[in-house]
Symmetry: D2
Subunit: 290 residues, 4 copies
């Protein structure tokens, strides 16, 4: 089938390749004309000749709303827009309302898979009406990994991004789990070949996983991770996960610990620990470092 | 090759089956005569006719030391004992010393795989001398999963159980990660089919893993886990992991959060929260529940 | 001076008493006519004869906005409204805008002191313009404890509630600190008189504090806290503190741990721990409780 | 009364001053002859002419055992030794056994108060028999702060150091509470005068405490703590508190979070966060810092 695809960056570009390899017609639009198949969003929409038209939006979060506003004026009754970026789930309701005024359907679709998705397939978590999902199902089928898993229609609008958000929250804590274990193995003198231990865990253990496989890859390239600084960004979903947990009074100690560890990793000097050091100095005369 | 195997419970019994299926001769001893191949430990040792003799000990932690003391009097120069249970790594050094006095080698071998190991193979993390490992290698090869992973010679005596301990610490935090995510999905109304979301994650996601597969199995049997109480035991390695982290000044916030969540799950009423409620009542007149 | 005071509940009623004892004229309004000095808010405003008029709002969070909307129609140029409740600081800006349209000043004032404030004085954290603060200063002076501490003009509108929010976040973690320590003392057999230990800490220790004094009071009434359930509510500021920390990428592990401990205290059965138990059962055949 | 006092460092020296000011005779011994009242421990014991003899040991943890062994040969039936240092409570039982062989009593006494104790008095938490406590009571009375608090006979041998250990664990989490709050106030633009907010909290608030007073002192000297690095040591009792909690299956999330924050503050580069960054790079192509 035909698909309009807005945003041809690291994710969108690879998705276009995977969809074309599956036999679909993708009309891609990007602000970079060198990789774009259309001169404007309007031009892209015009190139879509099938009905209903389906447009996948794969742009940075800040750009989502302006793109949807433009699409609201270009698409019409029965068409479907898929927000495949990292929108916060509560914004999906507003986005759906915007398009509903023109009779345009809206699906929110969380996408996982990173740089590996082009080859292995992307995991898709989708929210919206069954009718709209059906219109885009061939696209989902081409993007997802082969086999029975990797796609879910999770619920109404918002459910897709909510599920993806929780996926990422879980991801934070799993990464933190391996990271703490790795640091502990490396800090102790007991285990003399830490990368070999990690690699051995790939089969037969309770903790075998894809993230473990990636950790093994990283340790093969750099056995002590000497070339990498202990500095970890966060992309938002981890924060939203903890916020949603707070909102729903759900204890989330491991996920929040993982989030805070990332925050701390980005501080050259911890203000909180300045205060702890200052108080120790006040009551015990303990030396402080300047 | 021949192997003496002491302890034929859930783990040891399955290991005997897997080893025999691979063509090895296993003389098993258990205090339960119905499943034992020998009347006593001494009888078991006598049935081992190859040299060196290799004996695998697979008994509850408390029984390890008495069994080793008995073996010290039955085995001799060049023989090897493998402690495959959940001994604390620091005890391995004492165990090795005991046997070294008789010229008997000692290997500590952490075993992962649970009830699935018989079919899929057991992950093995081994500590001791290369010479002793070599004597038992055919046994390790038969127990481990097929392929290149699942066995590691992690270092000197103690390294095997240390690696297994860290494996289990990581396991705690990974389980906690999925558990927090599941609770959050279930608590929110956004996602209407939570088991379907978990199942979809099995391919293409960053968080695909064997533990996720098990969670999906559990949700198939009981979609809301209504039949299971939120009560989680801990078997010791999680505690030791946090203790080792404290000893080495390694931050372990996610693993310790996971351990404390298990402790809390076993309290009918939290003493600490009684105190919090009491203080709230004192300063704010907030009602307390009796 | 004269003060209009809306809301005469546990807090507002005591504040009226303290202000009158200090010689101020308080015209209180409450929906409960038995304790109200005025029949309506309009009646209350009419009874204020000094200029500028100052009105303190001390109502539940949900009622704040409607009360402010009513006051916007009753007060005028140069008058001042003080929001003394537990509004979220970000709402203060909206509140101030509402009143600014009528030339009415707005102060947000976080109030601490609970049931003890009437006697000992209330700690006040205030946000707004210096001009507006000056108009209400006699009221602040009467409400605050004697001495040099207990009142702060923390910054522009919002700063008062922000400071109060952080105060409460700190409060959560301090309470959790004593609570964990108390549980540990009680769980161990080492210390035979736990209440005596807590009481002794009231002088000379690093951890002496007002909350400790309250804990001692509670232990005098009920040495093992047998009459109190380990169930702790939270009133919102703790959640906002963690949310603000997340927003500003500030690690807040102790405050968030305290918040999550309260959440967990209110669960009869932990969903997350059901999942942990389910996974343990899947991989290890570990028994689960039904 | 007479007291032998071994160790005249920061703590012991001040204690000697306070005891002498209260009219007691202190024979102090220190390896530094310039501050010592005796040439050797034996000389010190000889100068004690009252019976029973009471000797207070105030030396670094490592030196405790050798000093006790020396005292075992110098003191006799009915004499009492007080271990006032930071011994781990489980060692108190061994220490008591050593001395009991010679009929010498043993008290473990946790001491809090830091550099302020000389003036304000030291909080004392004591373990041992009532008979031995009575022999030293005049010394305890002189060291403790005036008034009814500041001394507790917490239980048998070990109870004093256990109580002191828990005191310090609580201290860690309270300090962390203020530290997190301070960082959050400083990070947000809402509050323009953070030291003023802290100072105002000294009266009327729920969180007024001696540690808050110290934090205010520190902020007066250095309003943004610019001169202090965010680097915090730990002296052992915090670690033991968490270990004891783990041993007794007591959840201690806030205290352990505080301990781990100190560990992290001493790492130039977090190994765990290297691993997190490495995994992010593997799955998402996210940049890493070198």
């Amino acid at each position: 089938m035909q698909l309009g695809l807005i945003g041809l960056g690291k994710m969108g570009g690879n998705m276009r390749d995977r969809l074309r390899a599956a036999g679909h017609t993708v009309v891609g639009y990007d602000t970079n004309p060198e990789i774009s198949d259309a001169t404007t969003v309007a031009d892209m929409v015009e190139q879509l000749t099938e009905s209903p038209r389906v447009v996948w939006v794969m742009v940075p979060v800040k750009a989502v709303r302006p793109v949807l506003e433009e699409l609201a004026g270009l698409l019409g009754e029965g068409d479907v827009v898929i927000e495949g970026g990292n929108s916060k789930w509560i914004n999906d309701h507003h986005n759906a309302d915007l398009l509903a005024g023109r009779g345009i359907g809206y699906l929110d679709c969380g996408v996982s898979g990173g740089v590996w998705g082009k080859e292995l397939g992307y995991a898709l978590m989708c929210g919206g009406s069954s009718e709209d999902v059906a219109k885009a199902q061939p696209i989902f089928d081409a993007l997802k990994p082969p086999g029975e898993f990797g796609f879910v229609h999770a619920g109404e609008v918002g459910a897709g991004h909510f599920a993806k958000m929780v996926h990422n929250g879980i991801e934070y804590a799993i990464m933190q789990a391996y990271a703490e274990g790795w640091e502990l193995l490396a800090a102790s003198g007991e285990v003399t070949d830490v990368p070999a231990v990690f690699e051995s865990w790939r089969e037969g253990t309770v903790i075998r996983s894809w993230l473990l496989d990636l950790a093994v890859n990283a340790l093969k390239e750099d056995p002590n991770l000497d070339k990498i600084r202990g500095y970890a960004e966060d992309s938002g979903e981890g924060r939203w996960t903890v916020e949603a947990a707070i909102d729903l009074a759900v204890p989330a100690p491991a996920i929040s610990a993982s989030l805070f560890a990332r925050f701390a990793s980005r501080q050259d000097d911890s203000p909180a620990m300045k205060m702890v050091a200052a108080m120790r100095n006040q009551f015990g005369g303990h030396a402080v470092l300047a």
